[in-house]
């Protein structure tokens, strides 16, 4: 069984967003880049499955669409434990463009399970995984919070509004995963960091594809008015404000 993890290279989640270039772009200076948090959990679960002999996972590959500047993030995934990596050499333009690039790589080498995080913490799209599955014409299961593999038997929990369902689909498929798939992301060991340097990182050229959407500019939220402080001895005042001023209770 082979697992492919799709990685997005995103600014650290604590990054303060500063706009530049007439609000057309955000300031990337000093930004720490990380593996998208959900992709990191996906990778963690794939490696846990690889450690489990009953799961019979032979190989965990990671793929990202990005320039050379994305390589530290890919190396980090290799250090955490992925066996090899693919970098599609292109600037990611939009979700469809990214999905089309990954689909092309998958057509060259089919994987049994392709895993995407449920969204990326930068553009919050939640769309690459579903698009990839549709381009490849294979099933997809979304909002997956648990995955168990016993040879060819793969069972997953997915969230539905108001509960959970335990589902199975035949391989190959795309799993779009969220928190719960793993709890704490696995971190790289010293040995992992050393061996990551020698693991294969295949750089492949992008295929010709048009993007369908375009970011036309950014805006920061208006600053919030100062918080109205209420004395802990006068909790009733808070309730009156919620009822009469905010009108929410």
């Amino acid at each position: 069984m082979k697992i492919l993890i799709c990685l997005s290279n995103v600014p650290d989640t604590t990054t303060k967003i500063k706009l530049v270039d007439n609000n057309k772009s955000f300031d990337k200076t000093g930004v720490q880049w990380i593996i998208n948090p959900w992709d990191e959990l996906a990778l963690t679960r794939a490696l846990e499955l690889k450690d489990d002999p009953d799961a019979a996972v032979d190989k965990v590959t990671v793929i990202t669409v990005g320039g050379k500047d994305a390589e530290p993030t890919i190396r980090k995934a290799l250090a955490i434990g992925a066996d090899d990596a693919i970098r599609v050499d292109a600037e990611p333009r939009d979700a469809f463009y990214i999905a089309a690039q990954i689909a092309e790589a998958v057509r060259k080498e089919m994987y049994d399970i392709i895993v995407c995080g449920i969204e990326s913490s930068d553009y919050n799209g939640s769309t690459v995984g579903g698009m990839l599955a549709e381009i490849l014409e294979i099933p997809s299961v979304s909002a997956v919070s648990a995955m168990n593999v016993r040879g060819s038997e793969i069972s997953m929990n997915r969230d539905i509004d108001g509960g959970k369902e335990n589902v199975t689909v035949p391989v190959p498929f795309v799993a779009i995963v969220q928190k719960g798939i793993a709890i704490e992301p696995r971190i790289a060991s010293m040995r992992g960091i050393m061996t990551a340097k020698t693991k294969p990182l295949n750089v492949v050229p992008a295929v010709q594809e048009e993007s369908r959407t375009e970011y036309a500019g950014f805006e920061l939220p208006a600053p919030k008015a100062a918080c109205k402080m209420i004395s802990p001895d006068n909790v009733r005042e808070l309730v009156d404000l919620l009822k009469n001023e905010a009108k929410v209770i």
Binding site: D122, S126, G130, P139, K164, C227, V235
Partner: protein, 323 residues
């Protein structure tokens, strides 16, 4: 031309989010000079379907058949695409909830349409077609231009007001062609949460953080939620410690919510937590540390121990509710 909206039902009933979608579709259709067709999959009675008319649908395509009570992403997206072709839809609209996120990307690929997810308001321009969404987990907004003639949008929950039109819709049975080989998702087991208000649907949310000190102290949070008709939530450390289930974790990697009122008890307000709640219309913070970042995000604040403040708050809410 039309605006096609996918309205999900839960055991034959629609929820507020379905009506939000149809309300949005109605306003969008007005801007585009066209009409709204809603597509509903699975068995729903006529009176329930007609509610979609009241929120602005002119026409309803009702799909019934075997095996449609559980979501299969390929099957559902194929049916909605067939409805879109039949109705010559220029926009296909879904909710940005679990099923919307699951099928909208597939629909966009089939229709060669650009997709923007988690849209928060009506388009700011029709030419080029430009919509607004949040990025960087709420730290910024962006305008996104869709370059294709057909567009797929998913709408953020609780971001659009309900609009009752008093319309009556025509209801049509619709039988899309479905290759039975397409049904690949088999559901082995279902675990339903009953009697509780869903976090993503809730208009009021009461949430606890590490300042609650122990999982045994959650009684007042649940009681307050109960009398307010609210859902309960928690911060990441609380769910990581196993004090509360992961499904309650609100924040960047947990649930992103937009209730009318969010009451944060003993939550300091790490940037990742704020990312999950910053779309709330009003935020109340109760925390012992007056310098905690939660007070920068809050509208109303009490510097104090949540364990002491909560019982008084419960009494005060009861008084106001009964008066």
């Amino acid at each position: 031309m039309s605006v096609l909206v996918y309205t999900e039902n839960w055991d034959g009933k629609f929820k507020k989010l379905s009506f939000e979608l149809v309300s949005y579709a109605g306003k969008l259709a007005e801007m585009l000079g066209t009409t709204v067709t809603a597509v509903s999959i699975g068995s729903v009675d006529q009176a329930e379907l007609q509610k979609l008319g009241n929120y602005g649908a002119q026409k309803i395509l009702h799909v019934t058949g075997p095996n449609l009570d559980k979501l299969d992403n390929q099957v559902f997206s194929s049916m909605i695409v067939q409805a879109a072709s039949k109705e010559d839809a220029s926009v296909v609209l879904l909710s940005n909830n679990n099923s919307g996120k699951a099928i909208a990307p597939r629909i966009s690929v089939k229709l060669n349409a650009g997709l923007v997810s988690a849209v928060i308001k009506l388009p700011v321009s029709l030419n080029p077609f430009t919509v607004v969404k949040k990025v960087f987990s709420g730290k910024a907004f962006t305008n996104v231009v869709i370059k294709t003639d057909t567009r797929v949008l998913t709408l953020s929950q609780n971001s659009f007001e309900l609009i009752e039109t008093g319309n009556k819709a025509t209801i049509e049975n619709f039988n899309p062609e479905i290759d039975t080989g397409l049904f690949k998702t088999s559901v082995k087991d279902v675990e339903k949460v009953t009697g509780k208000i869903l976090l993503t649907d809730a208009e009021i949310v009461v949430s606890g953080g590490r300042g609650m000190k122990s999982p045994d102290n959650w009684g007042p949070i649940e009681e307050l939620a109960d009398i307010l008709g609210a859902a309960t939530a928690c911060s990441r450390p609380v769910s990581d410690e196993g004090w509360r289930p992961h499904g309650e974790h609100t924040g960047q990697t947990g649930k992103i919510i937009a209730p009318d009122l969010y009451i944060a008890c003993g939550i300091s307000g790490a940037i990742q937590h704020l990312a999950g709640i910053s779309s709330s219309k009003y935020i109340v913070a109760i925390n012992t540390d007056k310098d905690a970042p939660i007070f920068e995000a809050a509208d109303y604040g009490i510097v104090g121990d949540a364990l002491k403040v909560l019982p008084e708050l419960i009494e005060a809410v009861k008084e106001v509710k009964s008066s």
